[in-house]
């Protein structure tokens, strides 16, 4: 009698996972081998990998193309500032609380904007981000439109020495991206991941095979809001200063994130990681160009979308059958004996 089981890993994912684990250990030790400026840069890279991976889950898998995720970056950041400055909550404890609060807010928001079909959903998410930004600008307790800074007492409560403080924030940023990537891999390997992959490949087909598409999309939207808000909270805890225009910036938190995911490979977990690396390499070389830099990114993203819609990782993976994370589903039979 044959016993059938699902095999997720292959030779490339075994190599890939090993490399990821080694890289994680090396990066965790970065405070001992990297300069302070490098640590800040690395933390920024982690934030973008995290944001792009979450957007990829939303748009690439669940088919919910949002151009308004800055709503949750800004919301998480503002909740952290409100809790720390007005509520006296420890800033590090405020990070998960910001995620929970954003997820609670996302429940009615989703109920509302899910009424918009397909394309119009995208613009609806943008309206939500605008509403949040305008509300933040009206919040007098956090200095409204001009923005505010965390008081010294709050910053010192993280750690009294500046070096320790920077290390702590660096490690949290690394832990955040690691947990988010792990959670996405775990989710995609579960039966919900199978449903999500089915929705990605053919929504109608998924529905006719009994996948509750609407419920899964709703759950993904709220979960992504939770993660995005925590990433946003940490980004602005590191910046110390917040204003409605920076916290709800469509360029910083949506345009860059979308370009990263599209160039790296949408609908694949490796895509946002590759995309972020390319994005930062380009930025280090082209940053002096200012507006031209964004223009070039836009052109590259459109070119990739038209001629290589699965992105750079898609090109590589399709030719060579590579996967970094053990996500494939292959049925293997084993003779029971």
């Amino acid at each position: 009698m044959n016993d059938v089981r699902v095999q997720h890993s292959n030779w490339s994912s075994r190599i890939g996972t090993t490399i990821v684990v080694i890289a994680f250990v090396a990066l965790a030790a970065a405070p001992w081998w990297a300069e302070r400026a490098d640590l800040r840069l690395l933390a920024e890279i982690y934030a973008y990998v995290a944001l792009a991976s979450l957007w990829n889950l939303l748009a690439g898998y669940a088919g919910l193309v949002s151009v308004g995720q800055q709503a949750y970056v800004g919301l998480g950041a503002y909740i952290l500032f409100a809790l720390a400055m007005l509520g006296g909550v420890h800033p590090l404890a405020a990070i998960p609380l910001a995620g929970v609060a954003a997820a609670i807010i996302a429940v009615p928001v989703a109920a509302l904007i899910f009424r918009l079909r397909g394309h119009y959903f995208a613009i609806g998410t943008w309206v939500v981000a605008e509403v949040f930004r305008l509300l933040a600008a009206q919040t007098a307790a956090l200095d409204g439109g001009s923005g505010t800074s965390l008081p010294a007492a709050v910053v010192l409560s993280i750690a009294s020495s500046r070096a320790t403080r920077e290390f702590v924030i660096y490690w949290i940023a690394l832990a955040q991206v690691a947990v988010i990537l792990f959670a996405i891999v775990w989710l995609l390997r579960s039966r919900y991941g199978l449903a999500l992959t089915a929705i990605r490949d053919n929504e109608l087909g998924a529905r006719s095979n009994g996948v509750d598409v609407a419920r899964i999309k709703y759950a993904v939207y709220v979960a992504v809001a939770f993660g995005t808000a925590m990433v946003g909270a940490l980004i602005f805890l590191q910046k110390i200063r917040i204003s409605p225009d920076t916290a709800f910036s469509v360029n910083d938190w949506t345009a860059f994130v979308i370009f990263i995911t599209v160039i790296g490979g949408i609908g694949r977990i490796e895509g946002p990681i590759i995309g972020t690396v390319i994005f930062f390499l380009l930025r280090q070389t082209l940053a002096d160009l200012g507006a031209i830099y964004l223009l070039i990114l836009g052109v590259v993203a459109i070119a990739v979308m038209l001629w290589a819609p699965k992105g750079l990782w898609g090109l590589i993976a399709d030719r060579l059958g590579w996967q970094v994370f053990p996500l494939q589903r292959r049925l293997v039979t084993k003779r029971r004996g």
Binding site: H119, I123, A291, L295
Partner: protein, 288 residues
């Protein structure tokens, strides 16, 4: 009387919003494409008008003679060269390509014209007004803009239901493959629809440039106003879109009257209330 005045100004502003919406709604109706760069194209039209006025030294209103055909040609080329390739069952490509286009236009304008805000001066007509009784006066320019919006909407309605081109638009909208079997060239029909949409965008851009200050960054907000007018009015109805624009304009004017900070917020809230209570819009043409 102050409130009557506020509502009147809101109604007139609504005409402009209906113009933002008309081009957006046309494109969605014909090819199910939501053009995220729509607002940035309005701003692009405003800058084309600025360059025309500066080069030729003509009145901004007269610049329409040049801006409208220029934008229409851009629209036709854009559709045939780029956007037609993105159409299909998948929602992602058109959204991401027009989003990329939006970022490109915005930053291109920023590089060429800097972030300083500019305005077109239409001359003496800007300060003329007509007394409408009860101590109220209506500016000639806002009134003319509203009238123009009504004319554009009426013209679109006529074009859609009374001309061969309109029949072609409706046919490709209903069933692209059957339309092709009947001898229509869909790529050409779509490109004509985009050309028409950008011709309306050109009119909206010139009106915007005469009415208020503009800079390269204001495009997305225009997209959102147009989108809100479409959804409030109901998909597929041109007159509904005009009504949606007016409701949005009045909501913003009333919000601004209560507290200057509530200007935009009041408009968004009006949109969200309609979405919550009547998601199909107030005057929908087609159900679902």
């Amino acid at each position: 009387m102050e409130w009557v005045n506020t509502i009147l100004q809101g109604v007139l502003l609504g005409g402009l919003y209906a113009m933002f919406a008309a081009g957006l709604s046309l494109i969605f109706g014909v090819m199910r494409l939501v053009n995220i760069a729509h607002g940035d194209l309005i701003v692009l039209a405003a800058y084309v008008a600025l360059v025309t006025v500066q080069t030729l030294g003509i009145n901004p209103i007269l610049s329409l003679v040049i801006v409208v055909p220029v934008m229409a040609i851009i629209g036709y080329t854009l559709q045939r060269g780029l956007l037609n390739r993105t159409l299909g069952d998948d929602l992602l490509p058109p959204l991401l390509v027009t989003f990329g286009l939006s970022v490109i236009i915005q930053n291109g304008l920023l590089e060429l014209f800097t972030a300083d805000s500019v305005k077109l001066n239409a001359g003496a007509v800007e300060i003329e007004s007509i007394a409408v009784g009860g101590g109220l006066a209506v500016g000639v320019l806002p009134l003319a803009q509203f009238a123009l919006a009504v004319v554009v909407i009426a013209g679109l309605q006529w074009l859609f239901y009374r001309t061969a081109l309109g029949r072609a638009f409706r046919a490709t909208s209903d069933d692209p493959s059957v339309a092709r079997l009947m001898g229509l060239n869909n790529a050409h029909v779509f490109a004509l629809a985009m050309a028409l949409s950008l011709a309306i965008v050109a009119v909206a851009g010139v009106l915007l440039a005469v009415r208020a200050n503009f800079d390269p960054a204001i495009g997305p907000a225009r997209l959102i106003f147009g989108f809100e007018a479409v959804i409030i009015g109901g998909l597929g109805s041109m007159w509904g879109t005009l009504a949606g624009g007016i409701i949005l304009g009045v909501a913003q004017a009333v919000g601004a009257q209560l507290d200057p900070g509530w200007n935009l917020l009041a408009g968004h809230i009006a949109f969200l209330v309609v979405l919550a209570l009547r998601p199909q819009g107030l005057f929908p043409k087609v159900q679902g």
